[in-house]
Symmetry: C2
Subunit: 325 residues, 2 copies
């Protein structure tokens, strides 16, 4: 096992294989599934047997990507030549599929998470890349397989979701150059956007409303907090996963430097997501509660009730803001 291989070496291994199983990470997102779908289609175009092996259901907003590629049957390919994890650089990110992964005659890891360490036979991990889909684009090019509309739309899904529609700081010149090239493949980017962003469950709108009703400014208007309880979720009929994005709304309030979103979990634990806008450091605050993350996006778990969790988090944020003043 070498530390890092080239895109060309990985393309070569894939071209030499007759059968490939692709492994997206658990709780797959647009980049994980988009990357796998693009690879799966490309491999099938090249005459190979290829499937995407998952351990959870494809989220509905991404279901357009699964053109008969996804399976939860680990025996869909009995003895695969290649097992390849995509957008997923740690074994804990595919826990129920680990055994199957290492049954591959060759294992490959393609990822852009900085926390990943090489564990496969062939690894390409580059934390400076905005989306794994950009790496997939390069692998498919290196394999010499033409990028068609479907492959292009899957890659576009990965790039645009992982860059927050080209707004996050991880977006690069190359993200745009690759996307420009996908237009030549005939992608209908607006159709993809409808699939991704215009199918909001009414329950998601209802729960977002309820949560934002709890929004409270503190720390002299430099911080904001909102919460969700299990009771609120039950009343509206929403899933906790449908509260994704709320913490950004909380942070986006004018004048707010740090936003926190406190989520009562099923079973009594309290999860907290925090975001900083420009100068704040939420990784530091999360660390006080045994959590972690990045300077501008971090989280932690508290073992108490919702009200006490909110109070503790507010205190910690106020303290952190005072030190910065």
């Amino acid at each position: 096992m070498k530390q890092n291989h080239s895109i060309e070496e990985i393309a070569k291994q894939l071209m030499a294989a007759r059968s490939v199983i692709l492994f997206p990470h658990i709780q797959m997102d647009g980049d994980a599934l988009g990357s796998c779908a693009a690879l799966c289609k490309a491999l099938r175009c090249a005459g190979k047997e290829a499937v995407i092996l998952t351990e959870d259901e494809v989220p509905e907003y991404l279901s357009f990507l699964d053109q008969g590629y996804c399976t939860m049957d680990s025996e869909a390919i009995h003895q695969p030549d290649v097992c390849m994890c995509v957008d997923c650089g740690e074994v804990v990110r595919f826990p129920k599929r680990e055994k199957k992964f290492f049954q591959g005659k060759i294992t490959i890891c393609l990822d852009h998470h900085t926390t990943s360490t090489p564990f496969a036979d062939y690894n390409f991990i580059d934390g400076s890349i905005a989306a794994t889909a950009e790496l997939v684009y390069k692998v498919i090019k290196a394999m010499g397989i033409p990028i068609d509309k479907e492959i292009g739309e899957a890659i576009f899904t990965g790039i645009s979701t992982d860059t927050g529609n080209f707004q996050y700081s991880n977006a690069t010149k190359e993200s745009h150059l690759i996307t420009a090239d996908l237009y030549d493949a005939g992608i209908d980017h607006a159709k993809v956007a409808v699939q991704l962003y215009q199918n909001t469950r009414l329950e998601k709108i209802r729960i977002t409303n309820r949560i934002l009703d709890t929004l409270e400014l503190f720390g002299g208007g430099k911080a904001a907090i909102a919460y969700v309880s299990q009771e609120m979720l039950r009343q509206v009929g929403a899933e906790l996963s449908e509260t994704e994005g709320v913490v950004e709304t909380v942070r986006n309030v004018k004048g707010v430097e740090i936003g926190a979103f406190v989520k009562e979990q099923d079973g009594g634990r309290i999860k907290v997501s925090m975001r900083a806008k420009t100068t704040g450091n939420v990784a530091e605050i999360a660390a006080k509660f045994g959590g972690g993350g990045h300077v501008k996006a971090a989280g932690c778990t508290l073992y108490t009730n919702l009200q006490e969790a909110c109070e503790s988090v507010k205190e910690a944020i106020e303290e952190s803001l005072k030190i910065k003043d």
Copy 2:
């Protein structure tokens, strides 16, 4: 007056001028002001006297673009060589500045609205372009002025706001290629995104919440409607302009094909915005009430009360959906 001139001719006229007044449209948006700011900075870099003449205040979320360029004083340049309207192809879009505009020894119009008709001495109007900022990019290149960080960020603002962050159907391969080139100018796209999207007034969140509480599905779940009254705005302390974006949220509900947002205006009129997702035609519905617009985005004005307006609009939408069935 010719129908359409080339980018090069317009660049030549600008380079020959000593003084230039730039005219964004009323209720300026990111493309109007971004385009003007980029041009103003470029013209000043080329040693020319240049200002942006407005008839309304710069919205706060765009204030970062105004590095001493904007003025409401029509005599800031007494006898301008060139008056140039930008992202604005109709005289009614700069009503209080019309007289000044035609005082220019030469008048220029640079625009991408399909409804525009040439009325200046030099016109470049191309409805196939996503954002006027893309045309500005070409004009500045043709003038031979290097694109610096500030100019690049102003152009990026225009492109990303007018394409809905590269998601709307108007975004093209060229939008991405130009943006890629702006990275070479050193733009901090994430900083621009913070300015544009992470300074939401708390009152905007509060009013959005109140409006979405009124959200109602009808037409067998294929349509949705929400409203805002003057009383709701007063209670929250929000402006009607802060309800922008709500109609998209209404349309984005899963299963909904047509979304309507009904707004009580100051003075009793009722404005209605409508959006269709894929197959609906809201221009047709708006036309029934004497309004207009595009197939997927249209609006109209009703002279009645809020409740009756909602009923009339619901009826018209239901009828339209039945015909499509």
